[in-house]
C-alpha cells in the first residue's frame, strides 16, 4: 500500500491533543529512567516511541498506565492536569495498555479475561460482555471466539484479545508496547491493519517498537528516547518528507547519537531490523561438509506447561547455522534439552559426529564439545549467588585444571575468568562479583563465554538475544556467525524471524513438537515462507 494513502489525515478527527506529558522525570536507585520527557498524543495519530532497551520506554509507559508515579513533571488529559495514581485511574481516563508480556490468563476463557476489569454488579454479566465483544471486534476487524481458553489461542489472536481488552472500557488512547516482537509476518500485517482501523475510528495510538521498519510503516510521528532523555521528535510533517531510508537514518542517528560513527552501515541496517535474505555462503558448500549433529526420529516427553517433541529428524553440518523457527512453546525447550542431554529421548537417536550419544549424560556430551546456551539464562544458565568466575567454569566442576583432587584451584579459575571477561567484554566490577547482580546482557555474555570456549563443536543457541539491548544483540549474533564461520555447527532456536533469516543457512519450522518443513535461506521471501509454515497446518481463522 502506498504510504501517502495510509498516512493521509483521518477525516473527521481534528487531531486534537488527547494526552500531553510535560517534563516527566523518574529516578530509580542508581538509574535515571526518565529525564524531562515531554510528548503529545493526538486523536487519529499513531505516535511511535523508539529506543534501545533501558532507554526509558517501559518506565514512561508504566507512568502513563498508573503502575509508577513520576518524580517530576505532570500529565494532562484533554487539557486538564491529572494524577494517574493507579491502573484503575488510567482506565477511567480512557488509557488502555497492551503490555509487552501478555497479561492474559491462560486458564481463563477469552470472555473471562475481558471481564476481569469489570466492576458493576455482583454476578458476571456474560450477555453484556458478549455484546461488547462484538462491538470491539468489529472495530478491530478481528473474529474472536469468546469461549476459547486464552492459552489455546495463537499469538496473533492473543494479541488481538489483548487489544480488545485494552479497549474494553472504551479507551481513547491505546498503548502498544512492542506488540510485534513475537508475531509472524502475517500476524504483523493483520496487526497493522487493526491499528489503522483504530486510527480511523479516532483513537490515539502510542506504538512502542525497536524496529525502524515498523516505526516508518505504522507511525505518523516518532519520538526517540536515549538514556532516559528525549533524543528526537520527528513531526508528521517532517516524517512525510522522508523516504524509508532517510527516515531510518534520521532515527538511527537519534538512537545512537555520537556512537553512530562506530556503527557500520551494515550493522545499522541490521539494528534497523531489516529482513535481509540471502546468505553469503553457498548452501551447497555447507551440505557437502560433514554432518556433526544429527537427530533421527527423536521423541521426548513434555515438560511442565510445554509440549514435547515427536519424531524429529534434523542434521546440522559443520560450518552452518540451522535455524529453528516456531511459535513459542511448540517444543523448542524439549528439542534443545534433548540435544543437550538434560532430557532423555524416548525414541530415536542423537548422533554426534556419527557416534550415537543418546544415552550419554550432559557432562559427557559437554566434554565431547556439544554445548547448550539456554534461554532461561537467569535461573538455568547461572547460579546468581555464585561469583562470575565460578559461573564461567560451572559446567566443568570437578575437572582439571580448575579442580584438583576435589579441591577448587583458585588461581586457575581466576586466570580463566580474567581471560574470558576480557575476551567477551563482560562488564562486571570484578571476577568475584555475584553473577546475579549483572545485567541480562552481561549474563548472556557469561553463558556465551562458557559454552564457546574449550573446543565447542556443536552449540545449541536457544533464543540467544531475547530481551537484550541492541548492542548486545549485535554482539551475540556476531558470536553465532563467527562460531559457524570457524567451522562449528550451530543450531539456532529463536522466535525472532528477522534474526533467523539474518543468521541461518536453512530454517526448519517446529510446530506442535514436530518439524513441519524446512526452507533454504537463499532468496528473498524466506520469512514469508517460514511464516506460512508456522501457521500453515494449524491456520488460525482469518482475522482480517
Amino acid at each position: 500500500m502506498n504510504r501517502a494513502d495510509l498516512h493521509a489525515p483521518v477525516e473527521g478527527a481534528q487531531n486534537e491533543v488527547l494526552v500531553r506529558l510535560e517534563g516527566i522525570g523518574k529516578v530509580f536507585p542508581g538509574v535515571v529512567a526518565n529525564d524531562d520527557i515531554s510528548l503529545e498524543v493526538r486523536r487519529g495519530q499513531v505516535h511511535c516511541l523508539l529506543g534501545e532497551n533501558g532507554a526509558g520506554k517501559s518506565t514512561l509507559i508504566s507512568i502513563l498506565a498508573g503502575m509508577q508515579q513520576p518524580d517530576s513533571g505532570h500529565i494532562e488529559i484533554n487539557g486538564a492536569r491529572v494524577a494517574i495514581s493507579s491502573p484503575r485511574v488510567a482506565m477511567d481516563h480512557g488509557i488502555g495498555v497492551v503490555y509487552q508480556h501478555t497479561t492474559l490468563i491462560p486458564t481463563l476463557t477469552v470472555l473471562e479475561n475481558l471481564m476481569l476489569g469489570d466492576t458493576g454488579r455482583l454476578p458476571l454479566d456474560r450477555k453484556g460482555a458478549m455484546k461488547r465483544l462484538k462491538e470491539v471486534s468489529a472495530k478491530l476487524g478481528a473474529d474472536i471466539n469468546p469461549n476459547a481458553l486464552a492459552g489455546d489461542l495463537g499469538l496473533g489472536q492473543q494479541q488481538q484479545v489483548e487489544i480488545a481488552k485494552a479497549m474494553w472500557q472504551g479507551s481513547k488512547v491505546l498503548i502498544l508496547d512492542e506488540p510485534t516482537s513475537m508475531l509472524t509476518p502475517q500476524a504483523i500485517a493483520e496487526l497493522e491493519e487493526s491499528v489503522n482501523r483504530l486510527k480511523a475510528e479516532g483513537l490515539a495510538v502510542i506504538f512502542i517498537t525497536h524496529k525502524l521498519r515498523e516505526a516508518y510503516a505504522i507511525g505518523d510521528c516518532v519520538t526517540v528516547l536515549r538514556g532516559g532523555r528525549m533524543a528526537a521528535y520527528i513531526s508528521p510533517e517532517e516524517l512525510s518528507q522522508y523516504d524509508e531510508e532517510a527516515a531510518k537514518k534520521r532515527i538511527l542517528e537519534a538512537m545512537f547519537g555520537d556512537d553512530i560513527d562506530n556503527v557500520s552501515a551494515d550493522q545499522a541496517e541490521e539494528l534497523a531490523g531489516a529482513t535481509r535474505a540471502g546468505q553469503d555462503h553457498d548452501a551447497d558448500a555447507a551440505a557437502s561438509r560433514p554432518v556433526v549433529l544429527e537427530l533421527r526420529g527423536v521423541s521426548s516427553h513434555a515438560g511442565r506447561m510445554e509440549i514435547g517433541i515427536e519424531d524429529v529428524s534434523i542434521a546440522v553440518h559443520a560450518g552452518e547455522v540451522l535455524g529453528i523457527a516456531g511459535i513459542d512453546g511448540h517444543g523448542q525447550s524439549a528439542l534443545a534439552e534433548t540435544i543437550a542431554g538434560q532430557r532423555s529421548a524416548q525414541k530415536g537417536a542423537v548422533l554426534f559426529e556419527g557416534r550415537e550419544v543418546t544415552k550419554l549424560g550432559v557432562r559427557a556430551r559437554q566434554r565431547l564439545g556439544l554445548r547448550y546456551v539456554t534461554d532461561d539464562r537467569l535461573h538455568e544458565g547461572i547460579v546468581g549467588d555464585l561469583s562470575v568466575a565460578v559461573n564461567l567454569v560451572l559446567k566443568r566442576i570437578g575437572q582439571a585444571p580448575f579442580w584438583k583432587r576435589g579441591q577448587i584451584n583458585r588461581s586457575a579459575v581466576q586466570a580463566e575468568a580474567a581471560e574470558r571477561i576480557a575476551e567477551y567484554e563482560i562488564r562486571t566490577p570484578g571476577a568475584d562479583t555475584r553473577a546475579g547482580t549483572l545485567s541480562g546482557g552481561n549474563i548472556q555474555k557469561i553463558l556465551l563465554a562458557r559454552e564457546l570456549s574449550h573446543d565447542p563443536k556443536v552449540v545449541v543457541f536457544h533464543k540467544p538475544t531475547y530481551g537484550l539491548d541492541l548492542k548486545t544483540v549485535h554482539r551475540v549474533r556476531e558470536a553465532v556467525r563467527r562460531f559457524a564461520a570457524e567451522g562449528g555447527a550451530a543450531l539456532l532456536i529463536s522466535t525472532d524471524l528477522d534474526e533467523l533469516v539474518e543468521l541461518s543457512d536453512r530454517i526448519a519450522v517446529i510446530s506442535k513438537g514436530r518439524i513441519v518443513g524446512e526452507v533454504a535461506n537463499d532468496s528473498s521471501g524466506t520469512s514469508e515462507r517460514v511464516g506460512e509454515l508456522m501457521t500453515g497446518s494449524t491456520r488460525e481463522p482469518s482475522l482480517a
Binding site: R88, T103, I105, M115, G117, K165
Partner: protein, 307 residues
Amino acid sequence: MTEAILVAFLIGTIAAGMPLMLAALGETIGEQSGVLNLGIEGIMLIGGYFGFVAVLMTQSFWLGLLVGTLAGVASSLIMLVLSVWLGLNQIVVGIAITLAGSGITSVLHTQNYGSTNPRLGLDTPWKIPFLSDIPVVGPSIFSQPGMFTVALLIAAAVAWWLHKTNPGLRLRAAGQKPASLDAAGGSVLRTRSLAVLAGGAFSGLGGAYLALLSTGAFTPFMTHGLGYIAIVVTMLARGRISWVVVASLVYGASVAVGTAIQLTNINLPNDVIKMLPFIIVMITLIVFARSAYIPPALAVPYTRGAR
C-alpha cells in the same frame, strides 16, 4: 448388613466429612487467590476450642459455631498481616500458626477443663418432614443438625461466588496472574486479604463443626492432621467445589467404614481400622497426585512491577 449399621455408617460419613469439607472450602478460597495457608490445622483447633467454650457458656450450638467462625477469622489475621501485607514466607507463617494454634488450645483446655472434661451432648436435629421417615436415610441424612444443611448451602454459594461473580473472577485471577489483575484495575492485596479472611472463617467453622457436632467435645490436638488432608483435597480439587464435596465425603466414608465394621462381627484389629482413612488418602494421592494442580502464583507475594 443391618439397618442400624448402615445408619451408623451414613452418620459417621457426614460427621467426619463435613468438617473436612468446610476446611477445604476455606483452603480453596485462599489457594485460588494465591495464598497457601498451612495454618489451617491450627485455625481449626482454635475455631473448635472457642466454639466449644461458647457452647458451654451459652448452651447455644449456633452461637458456638459463630464464635468458632470468628475465632478462625481472628487467627487468620496473622496470615493476612505477615504474609499478604508484608510478604513474609507463607509456608513459615502457616506452620507457625499451626504450632501456635495447637499449643494455645491444648494449654487452655488443660488449664480450664483438664480435670472435668465436659461434654456437650447432642444438638437438636432438624428433622425434615416426610424425608426423615424413610428407613436408613431418614434417621441418618435427613435428621442432621441444621448446620449440615447450612454447610451444603455454603458449598453451593462458594461455587457460585468463584465462578459466576465479578469478585470471584478477580479472586481466581489473583492466584493465576496477579499482575494481570493489577493491570486490569483490581486490587491484588484487597482480593487476597478478603480471601484469607474468608478462608479462616470456613476453617474455623470446620473446626467448630468437628468439636461441637461431630465429636461433642473438644480435646487437645483433636484434628489429627485433618487440616493437612484439607490441603490435599484442595490441591486435588483444583478449585472445583463439587470435587471438594465428593472428596470430603469419600474421606468421611473411609472413617465411617471403620466405625461400622466395629459394629459387625468382623474381627479387625483396631489399629487397622484407624489406619484406613490414611491408607485411602495415600492411595488417592498415588493415583491422582499427578493431576494435582497449583495456581501459578500460589505462595508468591505480589509486588507491583517486580518481574
